[in-house]
């Protein structure tokens, strides 16, 4: 039986939208949840296919969806270049296709793309560190998302761009993590070990926040924002860890991806295309992240997807 929330419950009359999705990690599961919420709102049924980080499999799964008669297809590209070919096939087959989160190399090859703006997120993180440093020497350690992920690479690039010209903010170490918390833990441990005056930690994903806590508390530096000895944490995603971290005032800044709108718009426009209507939002749409800090979280809680229960 098609277990898991992804199973196609394609009722006869309902439109079925196929979503070619990426490997399940916490953030993706969050997105999935909001797609299902949106699906209820728009009364369409979804069919998820997970590509297991295998671009080949994604390509053949997309074909499978078509052959199974899904009316519209949303793609979360694993490889922005490779996906082009599949988009071309779908376009020639006149199957409405949109992309989400990761833009294809030529974003105009799809009628609609919605995603976050990893470059901007990275820059925002940089800006926060610059602000905190306030001209004084300020050492930070950077966790690198993953080299095979557009988002990860772009977020890093944003961070580095944002820091150029602010030589007082120094990245003491860049740690490859593959989005995993374990390498993040050792990376931060080592940074704290090497630089007793480490002032900030950049995390490309909230999934690594607990690891940061662990490393900090091991050297008794898990201190709230504003209190002496606090090590700044800036992170991206806005998942439950991020939301909670900001609430507890351990995290200085969390850049919450606007998952609710991202999923809603993506599904809405795809349905529009299926129904032969034009897209009602200019493509590509890059949703700005919701920046929340301990002081602003109360006001914005409703906008941060991770704050809604059951994240």
């Amino acid at each position: 039986s098609g277990s898991g929330s992804g199973a196609s419950t394609s009722g006869a009359d309902k439109t079925t939208i196929g979503i070619s999705f990426e490997n399940g990690v916490g953030f993706r599961e969050g997105q999935k949840r909001f797609y299902q919420i949106a699906a209820k709102k728009l009364n369409v049924s979804l069919e998820f296919q997970v590509a297991q980080n295998d671009a080949q499999r994604q390509s053949s799964q997309i074909k499978t969806m078509v052959s199974q008669g899904d009316q519209g297809i949303i793609i979360l590209p694993l490889d922005p270049v490779a996906i082009e070919a599949d988009i071309k096939t779908l376009n020639t087959a006149k199957v409405p296709v949109t992309t989400v989160d990761v833009a294809p190399k030529d974003v105009n090859s799809v009628k609609f793309h919605v995603g976050s703006d990893p470059l901007a997120d990275g820059k925002a993180a940089a800006a926060e560190f610059v602000k905190l440093a306030d001209g004084k020497p300020f050492k930070i350690v950077e966790m690198q998302g993953a080299l095979n992920s557009n988002t990860g690479v772009a977020r890093s690039k944003g961070l580095h761009d944002g820091l150029t010209g602010h030589d007082n903010v120094q990245i003491v170490s860049i740690v490859p993590t593959d989005w995993k918390p374990e390498p993040a833990l050792t990376g931060i441990q080592n940074a704290l070990q090497t630089h007793s005056d480490l002032a900030g930690i950049y995390l490309p994903t909230d999934g690594q926040i607990p690891a940061a806590y662990s490393a900090l508390s091991a050297v008794n530096k898990k201190v709230k924002v504003g209190e002496p000895g606090h090590v700044a944490i800036v992170s991206i995603d806005g998942d439950p860890n991020g939301c909670q971290g900001v609430k507890d005032a351990y995290v200085d800044l969390d850049l919450a991806t606007d998952v609710p709108n991202m999923t809603l718009h993506s599904l809405q426009q795809t349905v529009n295309l299926v129904q032969g209507k034009p897209v009602s939002i200019k493509s590509p749409e890059y949703l700005p992240s919701i920046a929340v800090t301990p002081s602003t979280i109360a006001a914005n809680e409703s906008k941060v997807w991770g704050c809604s229960q059951g994240g």
């Binding site: 995993k180 374990e182 990376g187 441990q189 926040i209 806590y213 662990s214 439950p240 909670q244």
Partner: protein, 338 residues
């Protein structure tokens, strides 16, 4: 003399050599590399790999292999957290029972490997490849690939510090010493080594191969479980990627430590040193802020050097053995005429 040649194994000498070289290099590049703090840091980071590697050494010494440990440790932790009612990435806490569940599941999983090999009559590689896939499948099925918060008691083992020494390090030392003793000094260990030397002879000698296999794999599973609890406790969260590829890290540590994948030759201490070497490399690269792109290049090259020195040292020892052997033979020829 002869003792030396066969006991103080050359591979240990060589791993130690490489470790020293790596330490020297990094100490030059990054002062304070050998600071007490960083050393305990290193050992802490090496501990879980060392623990799992000790168990794996038993398996490999017998000429078998266990690919399932990574998945098994994630399965054990997943089940334990689920049992404790943790269903989210940020909320919910484990209970003290977590430990019993993890231990239980990992021993059971390991033993299952042993039983399957016996029941299906196929090579361990194939069986553990199968269970590896199944274990991780079940684990992901339970969490539907979501993250799980690992807070509360499950963190004790990973984070406690005793007399200024991180508890995981102490646990690792104990595990390594115990298994090393098992392997070298107990009948059980010698049987395992014997099987690695010649499974046919073991059968003709009447060793209880099947029972031994079950025990060995159970121990390997147990070690993986302990490693799992320590890691997840340290990290404080469990991601769907937890344990993926761990078996490769561990097997690498074992092989770098000089244990031969064909079985019969190797040492637990060597494996522990292998684990330390791997940690050294990462730790050092972190400290000198290497480019993310060259981490793997460096690691790869160091591994090659490690085995190179191994083969060199081996050569010297072997030549020495010949002389020793001849001596032994001379002795064995002096036979009083009947």
């Amino acid at each position: 003399m002869q003792r030396f040649s066969s006991r103080l194994s050359p591979q240990i000498v060589s791993v130690l050599g490489v470790i020293v070289i790596v330490i020297v290099i990094f100490s030059i590049l990054s002062p304070g590399f050998l600071a007490l703090g960083n050393v305990s840091n290193l050992l802490l980071q090496a501990s879980s790999t060392a623990i799992a590697a000790s168990g794996m050494t038993l398996v490999i010494m017998a000429g078998w292999i266990d690919l399932s440990i990574g998945s098994l440790m994630s399965l054990a932790v997943t089940i334990a957290l689920a049992a404790a009612g943790v269903t989210s990435a940020a909320y919910g806490s484990s209970s003290i029972w977590t430990y019993f569940i993890v231990i239980g599941v990992s021993i059971a999983g390991g033993a299952l490997n042993g039983v399957l090999i016996w029941a299906l009559k196929v090579q361990p590689l194939l069986v553990t490849l199968g269970t590896m896939t199944i274990f991780s499948g079940i684990a992901l099925h339970i969490t539907s690939a979501g993250n799980r918060s690992a807070s509360g008691p499950i963190q004790y083992l990973g984070r406690a510090v005793v007399f200024g020494i991180p508890l995981p390090v102490i646990v690792a030392v104990v595990v390594v010493v115990v298994i090393a003793f098992l392997l070298r000094r107990t009948p059980f260990g010698r049987y395992v080594t014997a099987i690695g030397g010649s499974e046919r002879s073991a059968r003709e000698t009447g060793l209880p191969i099947n029972r031994l296999r079950i025990v060995v794999f159970a121990i390997s599973g147990l070690c993986a479980g302990i490693a799992g609890i320590i890691t997840v406790g340290q990290v404080g969260t469990m991601q769907s990627t937890f344990g993926v590829g761990f078996e490769f890290t561990v097997i690498t540590a074992v092989v770098v430590g000089g244990t031969s994948l064909t079985g019969g030759k190797g040492s637990v201490i060597g494996s522990a040193l292998g684990a330390i070497l791997l940690t050294l490399i990462d730790n050092g690269l972190n400290r000198v802020n290497a480019s993310v792109y060259i981490y793997d290049v460096i690691t790869g090259l160091v591994l090659l050097v490690a085995v190179l020195t191994d083969s060199v040292v081996m050569g010297r020892i072997r030549r020495m053995n010949v002389r020793i052997r001849q001596a032994g033979l001379e002795r064995s020829q002096k036979t009083p005429s009947t």
